[in-house]
Structures are given as structure tokens and as C-alpha cells.
């Protein structure tokens, strides 16, 4: 095996964006424009002038990215949304071409950019294994050889002859991951698959990735879950605005990323919401928001059972009274976990013209370490018709572990909701009783 699995050299990707004219992407428009341009060219030629050509706006999604990955190395890639992580992966998996530079990949690339790509809902589980395997680049022989292993890993034995449209999300995901994980590529690229699936499944995915790495295959792991990155990777690249800004041991890079000053969603900093996607009748708007657990040691990051304070700046155009103001915390999967609606306490809120400050204080946050999405809600009453301003996804917030496990470590057990419990042993009932074990929550 070569001593390099992936090498990139000055990789760059330019995207054209901005206002394309309305008829730009129709054949009719293209023909009309062609005629127009020809006429224009003739006119310009007649007047002895050269042609000016308006260039579309463009931006570099990726710029001068160079790094090398050795076989067996597990490299995390982190960075804010839109930093260029996905573009990098798309180039490495040959979905899109770079504009500049070169990447050399030694061996087959297996990508988990989105598990279940190519699954057809009407085909049986068995058929989808073959179809998906073929799409990912496996031969029929490979798939047949691995079939039992794939099915066992996915735990869908009884449902092999059921169309996958009848599968639960969990089964679907397990089967999809199982196919991709058994591809045995020399380079495995994983993008955020672990955001879904239950804790046990996530654990098995991580375990599978571990064993893949031990077999001497390189893994690129892109995630927003810094804890997962820290647990899994040895090295980490941080990408910002299309360039690699940090490259080194995972601990240093992740901690540097956590404490970065330009973090728009870090704690104890005002997050500007003026450009956020929102719904509502306006009249009043969330302008800025700031959150903090108040813990100096954790840099203000929220932690399980710790306090958490949200300060909301609300710009109102007039004096008004509102019944419903809420901070909503959702899982990355979109499940509403926390909703601090003032309506539930029946306390009306008075907003005066200008900027108002409202603080919502959670005494103990019952969330385990992970990344959550925070939304904001403001309405005249709890009826949706009186909605004034709703920012469904204001920012992502990371809950960190409080240090008893070591900074940034996520326990291998999962579950979004933090709960305190104890274990009582030695309460075995006499034989014949229904209670067998002695494990209880309290």
C-alpha cells in the first residue's frame, strides 16, 4: 500500500452565483440570446468596437486546499455551515470537478454522503442491498459474498422481502449504512450520518468506522458533532471560508475551533438575527440573542443540568402586549426538546417601542452533550394566527460535557435528555416473583 491515501494540491472550486437572468436556463432564452448577441456582435463589429461581456458573480467555495492523508488515518473535518466541507467531499468523491488544483486518491472511495442514496422505496430490502451496492461500486460477487454480513449488521433479517417503503426510519438507515460500510473502500468518507439513528446504532457505526480504520483504510469524517470528531479522529482539519485554517492533532484543532472569536453561535456573544430566515407578521422582531451557562471554565457553553440563560433583544415598532414568547430547542433531527413558552406560565409580556431586552433563564438544562438547534417564537397569543416573529432555526448551540469526563468528551452512551439516576443492587425477590433485576431509575 502506498504511504498516501489522499493528497490534494491547491484544490479550488469556483461557483457562479447571483442574478442569472430569468430566461438564462431555458433553451428558448438561450436561442434568443444567441440571436441577440450575434446581432450585437455584428453591430459592434460595424462600429469597430470590441465586445464587452458582463461576468456573473462568483465565489470560491474552496480555495487552495492542500493536505495529505495516510492510510489508517482518521481525519475529522470541521467548520461552520457553508465553510466548504461538503464541496471538498464532493470533489474527493468525484461528484463535482475542482476548478483548480488536483487531488489524488489511492484506491476506491466509499462515501456516506447520504445513506440510502439510490434506495428505491418499492423494491424489497434484499433488492435494495444489491442495487445500492452496485451504485456504490460493488460488484455482484462482492455483494453476494457480503450479503449475510450486511443483513446481520442491519438487523433486518425478517424484513428482507418487504419493500423498504414499509421500513421504519431506523431500519432503513441501518440497512443503508450497512451496505456502505461493507463496501471496503480504501478511503471512506463519512458526512454527518451519525446525526440520525438511535444511540445504539450510532455506537455500532462508530465501532464499524474504528475497525475500518484499524484495517489501514483512511477515513474522512465530517461532522458538526465536535465530541464525535474528538472521539473518533486522530487528526483534524478546520475549514473556514473555503480554506484550511487549522490542521493538526484533533484536541488542539477542536479546542481552537471552540474558542474561535468569529464563532457566530458561540456563547456569551450577541448573535445577529437580522438576516435569519423568519416568518411572521412583523411589527416586532428578534434582533439579537445571546446565551450563556455562566460557567467560566466552559467558556459559557451549556452543560447537562447546568443553568442556561438566553438574552433576547426584541425590536418593536409600537407598544404592545404579547402572551407567547418562547425559546425552542430542537435536536438535529428536528424533535422539539425544550419549549419555554411564556404562555404556559400565563405571564403577559409588555414590549415598548424600540429595543426590549427579555431574559429567559433555564434553571437546569436536561440535555446531554451534543449540538442542538435553537429557535425563537413571538406571538400575540399561542394561536398561530397571531404570530409576530418566528425564527425556526436561529443558531446551533453545542451542549458540552461538564468536565467530569474530560473536556469535550461525549459519553459513549447517548440520549438527548439528561437524567439523574441511581442503581440499586441486591434487592432480588424470591423465585417466582416477576421482578428479576434490580435496576431502577429514580
Amino acid at each position: 500500500m502506498s504511504d498516501v491515501a489522499i493528497r490534494t494540491d491547491g484544490l479550488g472550486k469556483l461557483y457562479r452565483i447571483g442574478r442569472r437572468r430569468r430566461h438564462d436556463d431555458t433553451l428558448r432564452g438561450a436561442i434568443a440570446e444567441g440571436v441577440q448577441r450575434a446581432a450585437h456582435a455584428v453591430g459592434a463589429f460595424a462600429r469597430g468596437r470590441s465586445l464587452g461581456c458582463a461576468t456573473a458573480k462568483s465565489f470560491w467555495a474552496l480555495r487552495d486546499v492542500s493536505f495529505a492523508v495516510a492510510p489508517g488515518e482518521v481525519v475529522g473535518i470541521i467548520g461552520a455551515n457553508g465553510a466548504g466541507k461538503t464541496t471538498l467531499l464532493k470533489i474527493l468523491t468525484r461528484i463535482t470537478e475542482p476548478t483548480l488544483g488536483e487531488a489524488v486518491v489511492h484506491g476506491r472511495v466509499g462515501s456516506l454522503l447520504e445513506v440510502g442514496t439510490g434506495f428505491h422505496p418499492d423494491l424489497l430490502g434484499r433488492e435494495n442491498v444489491y442495487l445500492n451496492g452496485a451504485i456504490l461500486g460493488m460488484t455482484r460477487r462482492d455483494i453476494a459474498r457480503k450479503f449475510d454480513e450486511i443483513v446481520a449488521f442491519a438487523e433486518v433479517e425478517e424484513f428482507l422481502d418487504t419493500p423498504v417503503k414499509h421500513y421504519s426510519t431506523g431500519m432503513y438507515l441501518r440497512l443503508a449504512f450497512a451496505v456502505a460500510a461493507h463496501l471496503e473502500p480504501e478511503v471512506l468518507i463519512v458526512d454527518e450520518v451519525l446525526a440520525v439513528g438511535d444511540a445504539r446504532f450510532q455506537k455500532r457505526c462508530l465501532g464499524k468506522m474504528d475497525s475500518v480504520a484499524r484495517e489501514g483504510r483512511a477515513i474522512l469524517f465530517v461532522s458538526h458533532n465536535l465530541d464525535a470528531v474528538q472521539r473518533l479522529c486522530t487528526r483534524c482539519l478546520q475549514i473556514d471560508k473555503g480554506t484550511v485554517v487549522r490542521d493538526g492533532a484533533v484536541g488542539a484543532v477542536v479546542e481552537g475551533y471552540r474558542s474561535r472569536s468569529d464563532d457566530r453561535s458561540g456563547p456569551a456573544r450577541w448573535i445577529d438575527l437580522s438576516a435569519a430566515e423568519r416568518h411572521g407578521s412583523a411589527g416586532a422582531q428578534f434582533a439579537r440573542v445571546r446565551f450563556s451557562s455562566g460557567s467560566h471554565a466552559l467558556g459559557g457553553y451549556p452543560y447537562p443540568f447546568g443553568p442556561l440563560e438566553f438574552e433576547l433583544q426584541i425590536a418593536s415598532e409600537a407598544d404592545r402586549t404579547v402572551q407567547s414568547l418562547a425559546v425552542v430547542i430542537r435536536s438535529q433531527g428536528g424533535t422539539k426538546l425544550v419549549n419555554t413558552d411564556t404562555a404556559s406560565q400565563g405571564i403577559p409580556l409588555h414590549l415598548s417601542e424600540g429595543v426590549n431586552l427579555v431574559t429567559i433563564r433555564i434553571a437546569a438544562l436536561n440535555l446531554n452533550p451534543g449540538v442542538y438547534t435553537v429557535g425563537l417564537w413571538l406571538a400575540g397569543s399561542i394561536a398561530a394566527a397571531t404570530l409576530i416573529d418566528h425564527v425556526e432555526s436561529a443558531f446551533d448551540m453545542e451542549v458540552v460535557s461538564d468536565g467530569s469526563l474530560g473536556f469535550g468528551a461525549t459519553p459513549r452512551w447517548g440520549g438527548a435528555v439528561a437524567t439523574r439516576f441511581e442503581v440499586i443492587q441486591g434487592r432480588t425477590e424470591p423465585a417466582g416473583s416477576q421482578v428479576v433485576g434490580g435496576l431502577s431509575d429514580s
Binding site: 432564452g29 438561450a30 461500486g137
Partner: protein, 274 residues
């Protein structure tokens, strides 16, 4: 065990056809075709019969209007079988063109998430029509039995003629599918184009109706050669493929190679634009 070393770098101008890569992913092609066929036949209430109903109903309509009302000559065979023998390869061709033209847009999920030779997608769309073609041919044999027409030894020429239909369909489909990614109104233009093409092909009428410059000129239309050839091979009409079939074959090949080159050239932007 050797493993491939892939160099990823920007490409410019015309790319190679990538035939070898396509050949290497023939199993993928097989699975995609199999998916298309299975889903199509599992989903439709009428199942396999659609493949037959489409050319059959067209034949009925043609027989009524062209055969009965316009008393169109039909090269010495009953008009219904005259038109049906032409509609069978035509339907294969036309469905292939329409399906492949939309194939990239329909499979955009795949294109945006996984790499594989993109040529596999429009190719699948055309090739999966072969199953329908076989069913329709069974129907044609049934009609020949009904009219008491026995095929002659000419039937040996059927396979190359059908390959010509496939090449024409794929060639046209490659052009349209790539254009469809760039220009969204291609989807609207395609059925119209196919309709005009139907009228320009001697399906409802014999090419013996055409006067001379037009008759030879019609050979440029590859489907004219296919349709007349299939009639000759199956029904023994006096339309044996002459030099005109070479013109048809050349056009079809030019369509295919040109289409593949254009497709490969545009391919690198598919994931960003689709």
C-alpha cells in the same frame, strides 16, 4: 491486489468517451435496468400490457383515419399490420428518447450524491425499453398469425435493424438529457419533437408515396430505415434496405457519437446544475 489511483483535476474541452469506465460498470447498468423494469411493471395496474396497448391503440387510430378514411396504400399488406409493424420499433425508439431525456433530472438525487459513469443513466432509460419491445413483438407475431403472414428468412435482419433503432434512440436521448440539465424547457420540447419525428417517418404511410429527392432524403432519418426495414423483415413488403439504410446507419452513429461527446463534455457540470 492493485487498486486504482484516481487523479481528480479540472478538465477542459471534450473528454474521452469513457467507454472503458462504462464497460466496467456494466453491472451497475444491469441493476439500474432491472430496477426500472421491475418498478415499472410492479407499479402499473395493467402491468405488462402497457407495452402493447400504446402501439396497439395508435395502430387502431391510424387504421381508422389513414387506412379507412384516407385509403392510404400499404405496400400490399393489410393496413393494420402495416402500421403496427412500424409502430413497434417506433414506440421503443420514442419511449427511449423521452425517458432518457428526463433521466438525469429524475435521477438528480443519485447524481448529487454518488459518483459513477453518468452515461449509465440515459443508457439505462433506453435499454430498459427492450423488455417492452419484446412484449410488443410477441403481439406482432400474434397479428401476423391472424392475418396469415409468415415471416421469411429476412427476419434474420431484424436484430441489426433493432440495434439501429436503439442507437438512434440513445444518440437522441444523450443530446436531450444533457440539454435538459442546462435548459429546463427541453422537457417541454421533447414530446413535440417526437411527435414531429413520428410524422416525418413512414409509419402511417409507405415511403413509396414520397417523390424522389424526398425519398432518398428521408433516409437521413434513421428511423425511416428502421421502420421500412422491419416491415420488410417481418411482412415481406418490397422495402428491402438499400443504400438508404447506410445513410440511416451513418446518421444514427453520428447522433450517438456526437451525443456522447456532448454529454461527456457537459457531464462535469451536472452535479452543480441539475
Amino acid at each position: 491486489m492493485g487498486y486504482p489511483v484516481v487523479h481528480i483535476r479540472p478538465t477542459r474541452g471534450f473528454a474521452s468517451l469513457g467507454i472503458r469506465e462504462l464497460w466496467q460498470s456494466r453491472e451497475l447498468l444491469y441493476f439500474l435496468v432491472w430496477r426500472d423494469v421491475k418498478v415499472r411493471y410492479a407499479q402499473t395496474a395493467l402491468g405488462i400490457s402497457w407495452a402493447v396497448i400504446q402501439p396497439f391503440l395508435t395502430m387502431v387510430v391510424f387504421s381508422l383515419f389513414f387506412g379507412r378514411l384516407a385509403r392510404m396504400p400499404s405496400d400490399g399488406v393489410p393496413y393494420p399490420i402495416f402500421s403496427f409493424a412500424a409502430l413497434v420499433p417506433w414506440t421503443f425508439f420514442a419511449n427511449g428518447v423521452v425517458q432518457s431525456a428526463n433521466s438525469l433530472v429524475l435521477n438528480q438525487n443519485l447524481i448529487k450524491k454518488v459518483y459513477f459513469p453518468r452515461l449509465a443513466i440515459p443508457t439505462t432509460a433506453v435499454v430498459s425499453g427492450v423488455v417492452d419491445l419484446v412484449v410488443a413483438f410477441a403481439m406482432l407475431f400474434g397479428m401476423m398469425l391472424f392475418y396469415g403472414i409468415a415471416p421469411s428468412a429476412n427476419i434474420a435482419w431484424l436484430p441489426p435493424l433493432l440495434v439501429l433503432a436503439l442507437v438512434s434512440s440513445l444518440g437522441t436521448g444523450l443530446w436531450l438529457s444533457a440539454l435538459n440539465v442546462l435548459y429546463r424547457d427541453v422537457r417541454v420540447v421533447t414530446p413535440f419533437l417526437v411527435q414531429l419525428w413520428l410524422l416525418a417517418t413512414p409509419i402511417g404511410y409507405p415511403s413509396s408515396l414520397l417523390r424522389e429527392p424526398w425519398r432518398t432524403l428521408n433516409g437521413i432519418n434513421p428511423m425511416a430505415g428502421v421502420v421500412e426495414g422491419v416491415r420488410w423483415a417481418m411482412l415481406g413488403t418490397p422495402t428491402a434496405p438499400g443504400p438508404a439504410i447506410l445513410v440511416s446507419a451513418t446518421t444514427a452513429l453520428a447522433l450517438l457519437i456526437g451525443g456522447a461527446l456532448y454529454f461527456r463534455r457537459m457531464e462535469r457540470t451536472f452535479a452543480d446544475r441539475v
